[in-house]
Amino acid sequence: MIKNTPILSNEFLIKQLPISTVFINRESRVVLASDKWALDFNFQGKDYIGKTIYELFNKTSDKWARILESCFDGKFPEPEIESTTVPNSREKWFEWTSSPWYDEQENIIGAIVQAEDVTDRVLTEIKLEKLQFLQKETTEHGKLGTWEYNKQQDSFSCSQMIRTIIEVDEDFDLNIDNIVEFYKTGYSKNTISMAIYNAREKNIPFKEKLQIVTANGNEKWVNVSGMPLIKNGEYVALLGIVQDITDYVLKEQETKDNEHLLKTLINNLPLQIYIKDIQSKKLLANKSELTFLGLKDENDIIGKDDFDLYDKATAQKFRDEDVEVMISQIPMLNKELSCRNADGSTTTFLTSKIPLKGENGEVNGIVGISMDISEQKQKEQELKDLISVTSSQNKKLINFAHIVSHNLRSHSANFAMLLDFLAHEKDKKERSRIMEMLSESSKNLMETLHNLNDIVAINTESNIIKQKVNLNTNINKVLSKLKPQLDKNKATIISEISNDVNLNVVPSFLLNILENIVSNAIKYRKPQLDPVIKFSLNYVQNYTVLSIEDNGLGLDTKKYGHKLFGMYKTFHGNPDAKGLGLYITKNQIEAMKGKISATSKVGSGSTFNLYFNEKN
């Protein structure tokens, strides 16, 4: 036994104490301990008597020294709770109660330290604390309020959050009846009233999404649920949870509205809009796109790619573009694309493809916008055609006006000059000469007016009535009319035209045109060569082309080509030439929606090609 330590006669009793108790002398050494203490701290069968408390617990904490010191001074320190890790056991919590140890003479000879295992209590406290924290956070973040109605006491209590939600302060006296009044009149109030009634009377729990009107008049959305508490088969209380979901509902509504707006917009735009994923499979297609592809339901297109929808070549073209846009991440804007339809027509699109980027900038598809501009294209072409027709008409008109003014002016200038001479001329012979010239001039003027009138008549719409006539019959008519000249010049006619060729023409125009060209061939023959005139027929596009070839003088088409069909242009100094024939010919064939061209070389004859329009 340890020196200076009184022998305890009741050591046996102490060992059997049901509480962990240890007696420590002033040197901090264990003098005695209950078996429970040895058990709790795993000292069973070990030699712990006489060792210092620090050695045993492997602790050097000042706290214990202070606690023991104060016991030695006759004080009673506050109990301490400490966790202890006992080998081979889970963490344990002990409450240490220390007090001075007196001998019979009331001298302090050490300290009595008792340890109580409070592990369960501590763990429960921690758990509760955690739960309380969680509940607080949950109710605050989730805007969750709870209330409870106790049937027996007819009492109503609620959490602060309930008051926050319905916007009343703590002084407001809430009860099971007036809380219903905060629900919006109509569906919400009826539903909650019914639910509470059913819960109280029939023990039915409830969960509803309803609207409330707060004390301040604000409308809010709440999720409200109620649970009747049953004890021994009897309803004793009703628990309620109210969650403010206004923000969520409004956001949801806003999202829905936005989605609806976007959908409405996309579907009603006169543009084809689609979204494709990275594999060019369609994720979305608007109404226009569906209509274009001849589909009714969006589900018929979702997940399909262009190879399912277009021919291979077109699909490949589209796919290549998609890939290009997705790789480069550069939008393709307003590109004109043509694709051939099943019926042979061509549709022209103005297409834009825009890469669709994810949150991290990675491309995960494309948005495509296409506009069918076939109609505009066609209009554009029609407009171009119209402009070309108009400008050619205009040119013709100006040319005609110019010619008319020039011709009339030249006659009137002659009249003016001759009349002036006449006024001053005294010589009789000279006077009669001037008079002769005046009458010649007047004759010329009459002829000019007559010619101009003919030309105007050609271009008068009402005169252009086409009908089917046999070509050979008409050629023969002209040839027999020109027979004297043909015979006189020993002309040879070669025709490759079969008898069944019919043309849709104005008959008088055809005769006039043929006569003009054939008589030109005679007029501009080579002096030492018998004229040969050859007729042949071809079909070019919509035209039936009659070619009339001669072996005459020919002319330099490079130099005169643009003037060949002009008015009053002659090229060979032939006194018979009036420069009107080909101008009239051109007008007549154009009035029949045809055209005329000529190929020629000086010295090697000319070929006139007459294009007869069989369609219009």
Partner: protein, 136 residues
């Protein structure tokens, strides 16, 4: 009376030619007046004169609208010829078109020859003025 050695009239209208000649002979003494039916025969003759180093016309009356070679085509060829002296060319046309007047101005700026634009009918006073310039 003023004296002019050689005059060319290039016009396909015999009445105009008659008129110009009639006025000319009454205001000046003209040794020789040559007539040409179109630009081609006129330019051929001038080329020949240049080649032979013969005397060129002092005055040319030129119509615009003529067959085979018109007045403009004649001028195009004429101003290219190696002629040192300044020849007086009077365009006499029934055109009053601004386009034709502008075209005459264009030719004026391209050559040292004296080019003047006159509308038909040509007046006695105009021809008097023209002969005045030439005979000085």
């Amino acid at each position: 009376m003023k004296k002019i050695n050689s005059i060319f009239i290039v016009d396909d209208d015999p009445i105009t030619v008659y008129g110009i000649k009639k006025i000319l002979t009454s205001v000046a003494q003209c040794n020789t007046i040559f007539e040409f039916k179109n630009g081609q025969v006129a330019i051929d003759q001038i080329r020949k004169l240049v080649l032979e180093n013969s005397e060129l016309p002092e005055l040319i009356f030129l119509d615009i609208n003529m067959p085979i070679m018109d007045g403009w085509e004649f001028l195009e060829d004429f101003i290219k010829l190696p002629i040192k002296e300044s020849i007086n060319i009077n365009i006499v046309t029934s055109s009053i078109d601004q386009y034709d007047k502008d075209r005459a101005e264009d030719f004026k700026s391209l050559t040292h020859h004296c080019i003047q634009f006159n509308s038909k009918p040509i007046k006695r006073s105009e021809i008097e003025e023209i002969t005045e310039i030439v005979s000085v």
